[in-house]
Symmetry: C2
Subunit: 153 residues, 2 copies
C-alpha cells in the first residue's frame, strides 16, 4: 500500500488541484482546468503561498494528488485574541471516496489547527451536500450555525 | 444628528470593542472587558492590524464606538483565484438596535468587499440568533450553507 503524504501545495500541484475543484457537481460550472492553465490560478497560488495565515494543502499518493483543502488561520479580538482555523475548498478524488481517506485528511487538517493554537475549527458546507453533512457529523463537528452568502458579481 | 463614521479600528478603540463583544448573551461568558485590559487583546489587535487581509472595523458616533465587525479577505484557487470577504464578530451597541444603523454598517462592510474585488461576502451566525437571521435575509444574504464548528479547547 502506497503511503499518503499530506503537505503544503507547490506550484506544480496547481493543475491537479484545479482538476479536483472542477470534478464536482457545483465546481464544474466554475472552473477551467485547462490546459493551458489560466494565469489567474497561478497568481492566486503565489498570493496564498506567501501568506503565513493560509495553508493550501494537498494529499499525495505516489505521484497523484488525491485530495486538497485550504486552511485559513484567523485571529480575532474575541475570546482574548483567539485563533480559529477555517477549512475551505475540500475535495477528495473520486477514487478515494468511501475509503476512510477523507477522515485521515481531516485528522491532518485539525492537527494543523492545533499546532497553530486554534480554539476551534470551522467550515461551511452547502445545504445540498448531504454526504458531506454525515461526514462532518461523524468527525464530531457540530452544525450550530447558518452560513449566509451574498454574491457580489 | 451626529454623523456615523466607519473606519479601521485603532488601538484606543480596543476597550470599547471588547465591551461590545462582552455585551451579548453568548459573548458575556467569553470576554473580560477589564479594566485593566488583558494583554492578549492588545497583542491580537496588533497582529490583526498589521495583516493586509484583515480589517477590524468600528462605527463611531461622536466619541462613542457604537458598532464593530471584522472583515477577513480570503483568496482561494477556486473560481480562478477569486476572493471572498468574510464577516465575523459583528456587534451593535444596544442603543443603536432597531434604528437602521446595522443596515448602514453592513452596507459599508459590503462596499469594502467590493473594493477588494470579492465575488462574495460570507458569514455564519448561530442558529439561535433569530433576530440576526431576519436581518441578513433582509440584506439579501442567502442561507445556503450549514456552519459546522469543532471546538479544540
Amino acid at each position: 500500500m502506497t503511503r499518503i503524504l499530506f503537505r503544503k501545495a507547490q506550484l506544480a500541484d496547481v493543475p491537479a488541484i484545479i482538476t479536483l475543484l472542477a470534478d464536482d457537481v457545483l465546481g464544474r460550472l466554475r472552473e477551467d482546468p485547462g490546459p493551458p492553465i489560466d494565469r489567474r490560478y497561478v497568481d492566486a497560488f503565489h498570493a496564498i503561498d506567501s501568506d503565513p495565515n493560509q495553508l493550501l494543502a494537498v494529499a499525495v499518493c505516489g505521484s497523484e494528488v488525491i485530495g486538497t483543502l485550504q486552511l485559513t488561520f484567523i485571529q480575532g479580538l474575541a475570546r482574548k485574541g483567539a485563533w480559529r482555523g477555517q477549512i475551505e475548498a475540500v475535495r477528495i478524488a473520486r477514487s478515494q471516496r468511501g475509503t476512510g481517506f477523507g477522515k485521515q485528511m481531516f485528522a491532518w487538517a485539525i492537527e494543523q489547527c492545533k499546532e497553530r493554537s486554534c480554539h476551534l475549527v470551522q467550515l461551511t458546507t452547502d445545504k445540498t451536500r448531504t454526504d458531506a453533512h454525515r461526514f462532518y457529523d461523524q468527525l464530531g463537528f457540530e452544525a450550530t450555525h447558518i452560513g449566509y452568502k451574498l454574491t457580489l458579481k
